[in-house]
Symmetry: C3
Subunit: 467 residues, 3 copies
């Protein structure tokens, strides 16, 4: 019987021998996951995961967006409605619908991740389709009941050295506290994500600022008090292991206003008398403020710009955020980041990691910027580009100008916990294949490729994220 | 003697064996040509084609643009002048000029298409150049006189299952009527192309609307009457097999005005008192109106945006439209299509096929949009990108996010009838080579690749275009 | 002992045999270097080059930008400060710092160029790192003292048939005069670079215009006199072999004002009463003026747009221009060049070579434009894209629409004289590898590939630049 995933996955025939050798030396390195969206509650409570559909289908926007594009309704996949109207709750029914449509994922990373999970985590060796759906479901459901498939056991089995979750600025981090105080040895850290209190367009922004004031004991009615509240929250997050902050702005625009101008802008926004332009300016200013705080407190600043969130208002109203309707847009960095870079771009102690959904910026903007500004690094291929072709293009378009050492290893960036080893495995394979090609074309010596394979799989992430 | 085109054309050595096997199973599938610009008159009258130059050189903008770029005058190639001034009419002379410059096409798809035509249609096995020009010419000219080289015989020899032509909204479809009523079994359908009556910048727009009113018996002086006229023309086109409409706007901009606002805009335009902004808005609104009609009458909506037509006014004045001076421009889809998508993007019964001349939109915009909106599909690599590298990039940049099943197979999009088998052959080869690579890297199982090869070569086009 | 650079460098295993054969026939062709920045003083005086660090590190922005991005200070690398503050002057210390960080260049073209120089020019066969730094330094330093390592000897050893330098419009060309009058047979020509007298944002623009008037005896206070001054300087440059002019504008914008409007604009600028928009317009107009002069005097016009110069004001203030802080920006050509093309784009006697730092324009804009306008050619992959991946993308994205014959061969574009053979060698290798792939996929016949390899390595540059 042929396995679902081949030992030579992602290795092209012409450079396979060398790719195998490079990969063999890094495949068992511990996983460093410096940026992601798993739920700290899992690690804190260590309860069994729910049924296969609730674990693998319902929360995965890669999956339901594809099925939706081909006519399946989100309700049929168990995606909850904002109005509480009934949706499918039978895990087996959801699973069958998914299995029938699994062929849609041919050629996509979702297919590679899931086949990897089926085989390596659940020991399945037959392809998923309508005929095999129930067998897959039963196998997975049974295993998920076992103690060695609970979150902490998987964490250990996955050989995760450290994983970062992402929490909003107002989060009390109680699950992180429970993990920290509970005596388990797994290293789970948080990251500071202040979108809800830096973006005036965020739902409940004004109330969020009030709440920020209560939590921190700062007067968030004033610019100075508001900044101090951020500083205190950042310090609080650092107590729970945070080494980074994360910022999901619509664009990479930054600003560097005088203190007086920033204060006046803040006052207008606090009074609710600002316009669209000022809301944008405030977001822009806050990226620079965050960078200045990072310079002081050492948190690595991650910028994830360029996603048009909730593109379909009809879907947003019915199902809420994160339903597969976030669409990439053209993103400028060279002029957008200039105010921030003029302020802190030459700082040697600061690390700012830039991500993009616009691959045209790799060779034209991100590599040239990160290849000269000491504070900048290029984050890995992100989201739609976290895929074999996407990762290959990332290396081909950044390496010649920024080198490997202005990149930061891999991010799985996922809430799909069972797929974490698959995602790191695929990243390691793609990087090894890329390095093998460089060696085969004599652009790199073999011993250098070995060194780099390790850096890309493990060391760079630890170093860049200070983990 | 070596053939002009090799059986292994476009198959890379490292994956050749598998590519051959995939291709062998699809190469003889019938041709489905859902979008193109052949002349229905050919099929209606079934007269012999003209001389080799008039058939293959004079109407082909890929060819004369390249020669023009290297200093050959359009007059020397027989391209007619608007003012009726004399141009070369001797087919042999034109052919010789072309043959002398044939080396310019090295590395281009035109070279692949023509060598394919020379060998497979005309049985020629020596390369075209100045020395062989006359032999090629004589061979082709002689064959074109034979009955088995007339349009219907070629149609059958080419194994065309169905071909769509494209006619303007005001066309009387008399050739299509003649084909339909003539008893020939070849399936030739039309497509509804209303640019001349939806684009206020089109030559004679106002008179075109009057004419549209006459043809349909609708009052095209009113918004309601104008829309009704479209509905009737669409119904008329459907009588002649149309399953699609086609729209060649300069951008992908859409609008969704209230009925009152649309009516007011139409009135201004009808009075000729509109400005540039309103002309753009009208085109944008009409895309949405067409999409709504498509929802109702089932015509597949094709959007071909982003070409700057007639870039050189001097050439336009001397030689008119379609003279190789249409230049691609940067094209936005994410914000441009939003009004249309907000209106009908979630409709499961509607199919909108998006094309682009801006490859940066594949991975960033088109695949993410088509990978979630049920109404959207991504059309194949178009025009300058209908080429081996262009098609490869298309697959590499769309598949991981949109999958194969949100694409729609191949369009030859040509008026060069003799080259249709060559174009489909090259598309099939490129797709088989791409699939072979996925299998060789273990990203797909071999039986899946076989299934997909058939879908890409044949089934998807039939399904998407409802043919 | 393994050589630093392999004979199969840049040849992929699957097409290696053919790539080798193609390369073998072109590797010893003379170097034609039609655009670059070497110092004519070197050839005029023929003095020994300075120490290894001053020759290879201090002036190379590719090198110090990478080290700076990883925390090394420019002062430590000997980069002079504007305020004359002390910087490292000990060549050996600079060399050691560089050697310690040489691993940063893995995967970059700088690494390929330098290893090539170390091996082929200096006979070194061990990799550079901290341990070998001194040995490399001593070897190179000793050789640089030898007569056969002086500029003219290297010029001859490098088999340079002709090299162009670049001089500002106000340059007296005294070194060129010395070369011309000195009896040496090496062919060194100048190129006309008038940025300082066509860009109102250039430092000292107004004084530059006064100086231009003095030099030429023209009244540069009037538009007519100013244009005449350009004509005279161009004629003067032609006396020293110039066959081209070069223009480094921030964008590709052009304008074609009436003579009256141009004169009025010039007057405002001369009075210093212009605004930002008018300065842009003036630069735009001057590109068209230069193109018209090129039509008349035959100088090939090179446009190098799209670099945001001196992105960091702090670095600019401390270290001045050309310190690695020039960042590419998104660049439009289709609308930007239209005024110029409407004016002279159809001229068969004119050659305009377009460069870009925005690779998205290759397939979308530059190839379609150069594939039809007789006056346009596409320049080779430039600057950050002068690299194996960059050159491969260039061929993949331009060839299918523009062919090979609307491109112009290779430019080394460098001031790093010792690396010139390395750069041409890499370009020849990449082109041969690309051609080998086309042959291996049967898209080209082998004898055509041989012909093309020679064109790309040698002939096209001579022809396009009229050398």
């Amino acid at each position: 019987m042929v396995a679902l995933t081949d030992p030579d996955l992602l290795f092209a025939p012409e450079t396979r021998t060398l790719a195998r050798a490079l990969y063999a030396a890094v495949k068992d390195l511990p996983i460093v996951s410096p940026h992601g969206h798993t739920d700290p509650r899992w690690y804190a409570l260590n309860e069994p995961f729910p049924d296969p559909a609730q674990l693998l289908i319902v929360p995965d926007h890669y999956i339901f967006r594809m099925l939706f594009s081909q006519g399946v309704r989100l309700e049929e996949l168990g995606v909850p409605r904002v109005d509480g109207a009934p949706v499918e709750t039978d895990g087996r029914m959801i699973w069958r619908r998914f299995a029938e449509h699994y062929y849609l994922f041919r050629g996509t990373p979702t297919r590679l991740w899931l086949d990897h999970v089926f085989e390596h985590l659940f020991g399945i060796d037959e392809p998923l389709n309508a005929a095999t759906a129930d067998r897959h479901y039963d196998t997975i459901a049974a295993l998920l009941q076992r103690d060695d498939y609970r979150p902490r056991a998987l964490f250990e089995r996955f050989n995760i050295e450290v994983i970062a979750t992402t929490e909003g600025a107002l989060d009390d981090l109680k699950w992180h506290r429970m993990i920290r105080d509970g005596g388990w040895q797994g290293r789970v850290v948080t990251a500071y994500r202040p979108d809800a209190v830096v973006d005036p367009d965020f739902e409940g922004f004004s109330a969020n600022l009030d709440r920020l004031g209560e939590i921190t004991g700062c007067d968030t009615g004033t610019w100075a008090g508001y900044l101090e509240a951020h500083r205190r929250r950042r310090a609080y997050f650092k107590e729970f292991g945070a080494t980074s902050s994360d910022h999901g702005h619509p664009t990479a625009e930054t600003a560097n206003l005088s203190d007086a101008a920033a204060q006046e802008l803040f006052d207008r926004i606090r009074r609710g008398s600002e316009d669209e332009r000022e809301r944008k300016l405030f977001r822009a200013q806050m990226l620079t403020e965050m960078a200045k705080m990072s310079r002081d407190d050492g948190l690595v600043l991650q910028i994830h710009p360029g996603s048009w969130r909730n593109h379909s208002p009809a879907v947003f109203q019915k199902f809420g955020r994160d339903k597969g309707f976030d669409i990439p847009t053209r993103t400028d960095y060279v002029s957008a980041l200039k105010p921030l870079l003029d302020c802190v771009g030459l700082e040697r102690g600061l690390t700012i990691i830039l991500f993009t959904l616009d691959e045209t910026s790799y060779a034209r903007e991100l590599a040239p910027l990160a290849g000269v500004y000491p504070a900048l690094k290029v984050g890995p291929a992100w989201w739609f580009h976290d895929s074999p072709e996407g990762m290959r293009r990332f290396r081909e378009m950044t390496t010649e100008t920024a080198g490997f050492y202005n990149t930061v290893g891999f991010n799985d960036d996922t809430r799909a916990f069972p797929s974490i080893p698959a995602r790191h495995d695929i990243a390691r394979r793609v990087d090894c294949a890329f390095l093998a090609r460089l060696v085969s074309e004599r652009r790199l010596r073999e011993e250098e490729a070995h060194e780099l394979a390790r850096e890309l799989a493990y060391t760079l992430a630890k170093k860049a994220y200070r983990l």
